[in-house]
């Protein structure tokens, strides 16, 4: 049974159009022109319990608007939505008890209180049984290394500490579903890894369903098997990350270190992407040429000391899809 069902979800905002300058500002006091902005046009997807999905899209694609509708704080303009059997905006309180939310840009902790007291408050809000609370706290304190700053007021925490606190706060009541909106934004590599590990363990050990929106595609590569790509308010891809890589990751890069430094480098079937001293990067389509064949062609022409192959990363694939649009079964035409 699906835990989240969204069908034809749509959200249109109406805002006041302002003409520029002081004249425009004065005119806006008396007469207003409204402009409609379609934030989410047509989004449908189904999630099974325990799935971990990357919800990806460029800025303004409608990611956050979708999340807000899922949490029940935004009423859809059209379409249907059910989260754990509940229509979120019709049953905000009941829905809220089922979900946990983390926003990278905004904390749900209480600013003036020590971290521990924020947790106490959340325990009471979500009515978490005392033993369950203590057990979760012990568990989270261990994985997220919270012990050191449990007594520090939230406003004095570093971003990394605060995020770890926010994660524990979102998971304290054992929600069935968590929404993570840019959870690793602004964090250093170590903190990012700690957060990713936490997300993975929660999904794995507790079977929590996770929707993760992020700009950092390394999060997605590390965590999710399925991704939903959204652009201009519509889902343009929904499926395994692997398939996207298959279809779009057609170009690999062969990095060759040459023994000498010839003036011109030319290898049939590959294009020189860049060259620094005698390190040359050759881009080639794996459907047209195997790596082995390319290496043979290179060694026929030049003396080399080292080779390596770089696989396409999700980042470059997604960038390409944003630019070109997604086409089902796209055969990697060179861009």
């Amino acid at each position: 049974m699906a835990i989240i069902e969204a069908a034809g979800l749509r959200k249109v905002f109406r805002s006041v159009e302002r003409r520029p300058g002081i004249g425009g500002a004065v005119a806006a006091l008396f007469s207003r022109n409204y402009v409609e902005k379609v934030a989410v046009d047509d989004v449908s997807f189904t999630l099974q319990p325990g799935e971990l999905v990357g919800y990806i899209g460029p800025n303004g694609a409608g990611k956050s608007t979708t999340i807000k509708m899922l949490t029940g704080i935004l009423v859809p303009s059209g379409g249907t939505l059910r989260v754990a059997g509940i229509v979120p905006h019709e049953n905000r309180m009941a829905n809220a008890a089922n979900i946990g939310v983390v926003f990278g840009q905004r904390s749900q902790l209480y600013w003036d209180l020590p971290l521990r007291e924020s947790f106490e408050l959340l325990r009471s809000i979500y009515d978490v049984p005392r033993e369950r609370y203590l057990e979760n706290m012990r568990h989270f304190a261990e994985i997220l290394d919270l012990e050191r700053f449990l007594s520090t007021p939230v406003r004095q925490l570093s971003l990394g500490e605060r995020m770890r606190g926010d994660f524990a706060a979102a998971m304290l009541h054992d929600p069935q579903i968590v929404y993570l909106d840019e959870p690793t934004i602004g964090l250093d590599v170590v903190a990012k890894e700690a957060i990713r590990e936490f997300i993975a363990s929660v999904n794995r050990d507790r079977g929590t369903t996770v929707i993760l929106t992020t700009h950092d595609l390394a999060d997605v590569e590390r965590l999710s098997r399925r991704i939903i790509l959204i652009d201009e308010g519509t889902v343009i891809y929904d499926g395994p990350l692997e398939r996207l890589r298959e279809e779009y990751g057609t170009h690999r890069t062969l990095v060759v270190t040459l023994l000498e430094s010839p003036a011109e480098i030319e290898v049939p079937g590959a294009e020189v992407e860049s060259r620094e001293m005698n390190v040359v990067r050759l881009r080639f389509n794996r459907r047209e040429l195997t790596a082995e064949a390319l290496i043979r062609r290179v060694t026929e022409r030049y003396e080399i000391s080292d080779v390596s192959i770089i696989e396409p990363d999700v980042e470059s694939i997604v960038r390409r899809i944003y630019l070109e649009g997604y086409h089902e079964g796209a055969v990697g035409a060179p861009s």
């Binding site: 029940g72 704080i73 509940i86 926003f103 749900q108 007291e117 106490e120 809000i125």
Partner: protein
């Protein structure tokens, strides 16, 4: 099939505990600003002293109004200043701030009644400051002599004070809710402060206003905040008129609570439709 398994969405049972906690945390938060406690008490004492001087000067040059002889008006001013310790707090300022920075969204994502949360948080802050009334009162007694009425009057005063606080909460809440539509409420706040100062009876007892101003002032809800409890304290409103005076406070409380409810629905609806 899916609906059968999920069952009808249950509405979480109401529990008071989180709101008690909100109030406690708000008290703890206020207690961290310890320096503020001393400056607040000091400023009350200075104002008690200055107001006494003003009233003494005014009364020696003018005939005293029969309702309020000098000692009564000094009592009135002193009690008003002490009430101000809790009444002048902007309890729901948090709402304005949350609307401003958009953090209201995280409150809506929790299974809490948001207005009740704001009330609990504001009242926690108020209760902390209410604790300052006792030391301020004791110190004020050194500076001025005030009348202490019999227990029955004090009881009526207390009931009226609580109602006045609730009316003040509604006025404050309504004011901060304007931010749902305009985000900026500076001008509205200035106007409300000014009107409350003038027509609430905190600074000047309404009974010494000229007749036409009295008609306006007693026809407004602000009189229910300060004037009613204070006039009960100084016994201008006698036991025979308690029912009428307190009834009027209840009436204003009902009206303002209704306005606040309607505004909250509209404002919250705006947030969920327009995304804040």
């Amino acid at each position: 099939m899916s609906t059968a398994l999920a069952g009808a969405p249950r509405r979480p049972r109401f529990r008071l505990e989180p709101y008690v906690q909100f109030a406690q945390k708000a008290m703890a938060r206020e207690a961290t600003y310890r320096f503020d406690v001393f400056t607040t008490i000091a400023s009350v004492l200075v104002r008690v002293y200055l107001l006494r001087m003003v009233w003494v000067a005014l009364y020696t040059r003018n005939p005293a109004p029969k309702e309020l002889p000098l000692h009564a008006i000094i009592t009135y001013s002193t009690v008003a200043l002490l009430m101000g310790l809790v009444m002048d707090i902007d309890q729901t300022r948090a709402l304005h701030d949350k609307l401003h920075d958009g953090s209201i969204a995280t409150d809506f994502m929790k299974p809490i009644n948001v207005p009740l949360y704001l009330f609990a948080d504001g009242s926690g802050e108020v209760l902390f400051h209410a604790a300052l009334i006792v030391p301020s009162l004791l110190l004020a007694l050194f500076i001025v002599h005030i009348d202490v009425p019999p227990a029955s009057v004090l009881l009526a005063f207390f009931v009226s004070f609580v109602l006045g606080y609730l009316v003040g909460f509604c006025v404050n809440f309504i004011l901060n809710m304007i931010a749902f539509w305009t985000l900026e409420i500076h001008a509205a706040r200035l106007i409300v402060t000014w009107v409350t100062d003038l027509f609430g009876g905190e600074i000047i007892p309404l009974v010494i206003f000229p007749a036409f101003l009295q008609r306006i002032a007693f026809g407004l809800p602000f009189a229910a905040m300060f004037s009613t409890p204070l006039l009960i304290y100084v016994r201008v409103i006698g036991p025979g008129r308690y029912l009428e005076a307190i009834g009027l406070q209840v009436f204003w409380l009902a009206v303002l609570a209704l306005v606040a409810t309607v505004m909250w629905r509209a404002g919250a609806n705006r947030v969920v439709v327009q995304g804040g």
